[in-house]
């Protein structure tokens, strides 16, 4: 069966399985492996396996069968099952019948050689029967018959030692611990220093009624409570068990979590950080600051006295005549209404062609003039109310204007009202380039400032009525201006941007102070008639009180309102200020400013006034004090103006 190699010189090793070596049909086709006994993976990625005698590559037979070909071959080739691939050459070999038989035999665990008989009869070299003659015939040693002297010596030594009491039998160990009076000598000096630091573990909580096996019925959980208990995290539960009721003691089962609880306690004892915590034992009443009673701080408005109805949309702004007799309100319904304060009668309705953002009555009592912001223009209106002499004089004053010879370049246009407008009361129109959002008068009544919603340096303009002359005080824009204010006495000008209030000196034309409001977005600003204190309301529901002499930070930040503040106001004579907010309330506070510089202002909230209904999430839009009485007006998003006295 073994075929000798045709080219013995080429074969490096003869270990190639002879049974599986293909039989080369011709010497030319002898492509037996020439690489030797090496791992065949080394040639895995090459097209050849080894080299022939000439040093040429021996190529592997081309195997480009895909799965389909394989399958077809499997189906069609009857010898497929006996075809194996020779790893050495990469060629397919068909096994002969003998080879297949050999494989079968080996698989069954039989011998490879067919002729090998594993069950040949055994041949005994020695008989299993007992023979009369021994195999060896050596006589036994003498020493196996006499006792050992060495052992005897050893034993006698031990016996002697035992007799002498040198060796004692092992005492059974006594495991039971012995106790004695450990604290017999309590020496206070021996207490370690660490015991002073020691935090004893808190004792376990003692059980309440609900843990009883037969608790009062109110401690048992209802169905919903039980469900809620089950859904809670075990750590969040208030009780770590469900209260249960048993009719008698015999019915009480074992508590399944007993060992758990003891174990958790053990863990707490050695793993829980301990810390001494001072318990705040404060009477909550003591925390409330002692303030003077509001009763002692009277007068202040307490009740709603009048409601001025007429507007059909939100009333954005209010202003009052210096005499306190007339009230003007501007609204989103594109009208301005003039009211008599005492009777709540609407004296006049002035339709203007747009939403009224701001109104301001001239603070000079000798002039009867109202500035109204409507879209891009400021209207100067003579309401023709009150003393005829007075408003007549105002008209004369306005008409006495003589235009200067040379035309000056102005940022705005001053236009005299047409006849139609004149009959309604409008006297002058100051036309801006952008929408105007606020107008405010100087205390003397000649100058007024307007704020334009714009990003440029043209945001704030100061106008002089008598000369019909406007100017832009700022060269640079310092942010979005929210509102502006004239100092009542000194030539100061306050400009509130989103987060800061800047104070300018108009005479020196310089910045004197910059106040940090600590608010996100300032909405409104008011100045104390004394001129040294400012309050700022902000949209993040804070009210900041500044003492200009004290610092540039707020003296006090009041968080009384729950929603954004829309407007704040000071009273002219009484130490009162008010703030109106989106939560629909007006809070009147007592704000006493002392002449003594050392004494800080005293701020006490005295009254929360409610009345406005919430519309569109807006409450109070403007608040205003009566110039002489301790009365406060508020205008709201519900289209009403209310007077509290």
């Amino acid at each position: 069966f073994f075929t000798p190699p045709r080219h013995p010189g080429v074969h490096l090793l003869e270990t190639v399985s002879p049974a599986l070596t293909p039989l080369p049909s011709t010497p030319l086709q002898d492509i037996r492996n020439t690489v030797g006994n090496i791992p065949m993976e080394w040639y895995q990625d090459f097209p050849h396996i080894g080299y022939n005698l000439e040093g040429k590559k021996i190529y592997k037979p081309i195997r480009n069968k895909d799965e389909l070909d394989m399958f077809l071959e499997k189906m069609e080739n009857p010898d497929y099952w006996r075809t194996v691939q020779d790893k050495m050459t990469g060629a397919d070999i068909k096994l002969t019948d003998e080879q297949v038989d050999l494989v079968h035999r080996l698989q069954k665990g039989q011998f490879g050689d067919v002729h090998f008989n594993p069950y040949e009869p055994a041949v005994d070299f020695f008989t299993h029967e007992v023979m009369i003659h021994p195999v060896t015939n050596r006589p036994a040693d003498k020493r196996s018959f006499i006792p050992s002297l060495i052992e005897k010596e050893k034993v006698s030594k031990l016996v002697h030692a035992i007799k002498m009491g040198w060796i004692k039998p092992r005492k059974p160990k006594d495991d039971t611990p012995t106790y004695y009076d450990l604290w017999a000598h309590e020496d206070p000096n021996s207490i370690l220093g660490r015991h002073k630091m020691h935090v004893p573990a808190p004792k376990m909580k003692l059980p309440g009624h609900e843990e009883s096996y037969n608790p009062p019925p109110e401690y048992l959980l209802s169905e919903e409570e039980k469900l809620a208990w089950e859904q809670q995290e075990p750590a969040e539960r208030k009780l770590n068990f469900v209260p249960q009721q048993y009719r008698c003691l015999r019915a009480v089962p074992a508590y399944s979590r007993f060992i758990h609880e003891r174990f958790e306690r053990c863990l707490d004892l050695y793993l829980c950080p301990r810390q001494r915590k001072m318990r705040v034992n404060v009477d909550p009443e003591d925390l409330i600051p002692k303030l003077p009673k509001p009763r002692d701080l009277q007068p202040f408005p307490t009740t709603q006295a009048l409601v001025y109805r007429g507007h059909t949309s939100l009333v954005r702004c209010l202003s009052i005549s210096p005499s306190g007799q007339w009230l003007v309100s501007g609204s989103d319904d594109c009208t301005v209404r003039f009211w008599e304060v005492c009777t709540a009668r609407c004296m006049k309705t002035l339709p203007v062609g747009g939403v009224v953002k701001s109104v301001a009555w001239n603070p000079n009592p000798t002039i009867c003039l109202v500035a109204i912001c409507v879209e891009q223009s400021v209207l100067l209106v003579n309401p023709c109310l009150g003393d005829k002499l007075l408003y007549g004089a105002t008209d004369q004053l306005l008409e006495s204007y003589v235009a200067p010879e040379e035309e000056r370049v102005q940022p705005v246009q001053w236009v005299t009202a047409t006849m139609e407008e004149h009959s309604k009361g409008v006297r002058l129109v100051v036309q801006h380039s952008k929408a105007v959002k606020q107008v405010t008068w100087h205390g003397k009544g000649d100058y007024f400032a307007s704020v334009v919603s714009d990003n440029s340096n043209m945001q704030v303009l100061i106008h002089q009525t008598s000369k019909r002359w406007s100017q832009n005080p700022f060269r640079k824009s310092k942010g979005l201006v929210q509102c502006v204010l004239f100092h009542p006495i000194r030539p100061y000008f306050f400009v509130a941007t989103q987060r800061y209030v800047r104070v300018y000196n108009l005479l020196k034309q310089e910045l004197t102070k910059k106040l940090m409001t600590n608010c996100k977005w300032v909405s409104s600003m008011a100045i104390h008639p004394g001129g040294d204190n400012i309050i700022c309301g902000s949209y993040d529901s804070k009210l900041a009180w500044f003492d200009l002499d004290l610092s540039t930070r707020p003296y006090q930040l009041l968080r009384h309102h729950k929603k954004a503040l829309r407007s704040v106001a000071f009273h002219k004579h009484y130490p009162l200020f008010a703030s109106g907010s989106d939560d629909g309330t007006v809070i009147v506070c007592h704000g006493m400013v002392y002449n003594d510089l050392l004494q800080n202002p005293l701020l006490v909230p005295v009254k929360v006034l409610k009345g406005h209904t919430m519309t569109l999430d807006l409450g109070v839009l403007d608040v205003l004090f009566h110039p002489t009485q301790p009365w406060v007006f508020s205008s709201g998003a519900d289209g009403t103006v209310r007077l509290y006295t």
Partner: protein, 552 residues
Amino acid sequence: TRRLCILKGIYPHEPKHKKKVNKGSTAARTFYLLKDIKFLLHEPIVNKFREYKVFVRKLRKAYGKSEWSTVDRLKDNKPSYKLDHIVKERYPTFVDALRDLDDALSMCFLFSTFPRTGKCHVQTIQLCRRLAVEFLNYVIASRSLRKVFLSIKGIYYQAEVLGQPVTWITPYTFAHDHPTDVDYRVMATFTEFYTTLLGFVNFRLYHSLNLLYPPKIDGQADVELKPAEGKEYAMDSESYLEKLSALSASLARVVAPTHEDEVEMDEFPVEGETAEQMDVRKKEQEALEKHKKLFEGLRFFLNREVPREPLAFIIRCFGGQVSWDKSLCIGATYDVSDPSITHQIVDRPRVEQQVVGRYYLQPQWVFDSVNAKLCLPVADYFPGVLLPPHLSPFVTEQEGDYVPPEKLKLLAMQRGENPDEESEEEEEDEEEEEDENDKEEEEEEDESEKEEEMKLKKMEEQKTQSNKALPVKVTAGKLRLEDKQRLEQEQQSEEKRLAIMMMKKREKYLYKKIMFGKKRKVREANKLAAKRKAHDTAVKEEKKKSKKARRA
């Protein structure tokens, strides 16, 4: 180190500046004081632990090589260590040890109920049992038990040992289903320390009462206890512990007790204490003495379905005599048929053969009586009767807390009033009235309408007359008065509101927190009260219904 931490009582600390210690992170970590760790290093027991480790290694090796003689030798020389010095170090004074006794007792009682196989060493369990029994015997001898409570978790006891309240809990006597998520090694380490502590405490306590420490049963009692049949019940050493744990015999004293050696307490007037305070103290003392002798002269018999050990313990603590069926446990002193028995504790719906001259009561009576410090009326606790709720004696209601009505009743009873009868009478009266009303209602339904009309007419007439006679004056005056009060209240509340507005941020936060807590408390109390009310009305209606049904 864990074992060392447990034994030495080292615990982590919460650092003052968590970020500083934790290298800037705020993740939760446990911090030990450096001092503590250094302190652990000096502990001599560390070396013993090392020796033990080596021993275990050697033993394992010997086992592996199956060198049995070596195994025997090693086992004989097993290293052991003592925790005495640690106990002394952790509790420099005896009072310190007593303060920390709660956990030790609870743990020992738990371990003593473990099965003798499996979870931990048998010796530990036996030692725990022994110490627990010793402690119980001490409490009996000193009569220091104060409160007991049957909870669903187990039985709570509170004793006053040398002025320190010691509370422990024992599980109900059932086999434990041992949880898998519990590390028994931790518990075993704790128990190791606790047994040492408890042993020394017991020794000291026994000596403070002049009792022999490895406790001996009193000579006379011992004779009584000898089983009459003459055959030994078990091995002597074991039966001794069992006899002891029967808790029915008094203990031998070192010095024979002189009869009634109650020394009258001398009165030392403490400075700055008024006569009134003295009086109060004296009264308290008297009440305490009375409480200690609550069951004096009563003879109890425990039926076999009743948990024997807790009840025997409690009854003996208050001077009662107790016995049980001979086949139940060793140490029974008298039989069921003893005519001198006054109370038999029974936990079955009914008792067949009742002996005249004794009360058959449910076990809750004993517990409630102890907590109430007086023998409660027995009528509520007869077998088969729906028991009154069992209240926790550990709750002391403060102002504004919810107090269950049973507690109110109890308090009244303690004050010496007897509201029970009254209220019952009232209830009966009410019921009767209601019944009458029911009857009347049915009859009078038609009539009542007419009557009401008549009444209304009359009223109107009267009104008009009075109006004519006396103009508006009276009513107006009254109204104004009410208004004034209300106005004042409103004004005050408004002032408070305004003042709260002016509070500083931090104070406001604190104030709001306190107020929130208070409100929650009130809410919870109200909820409980409402629940109780609903329950009571439901019960009443049911009663009514059943009554009606019976009548029908």
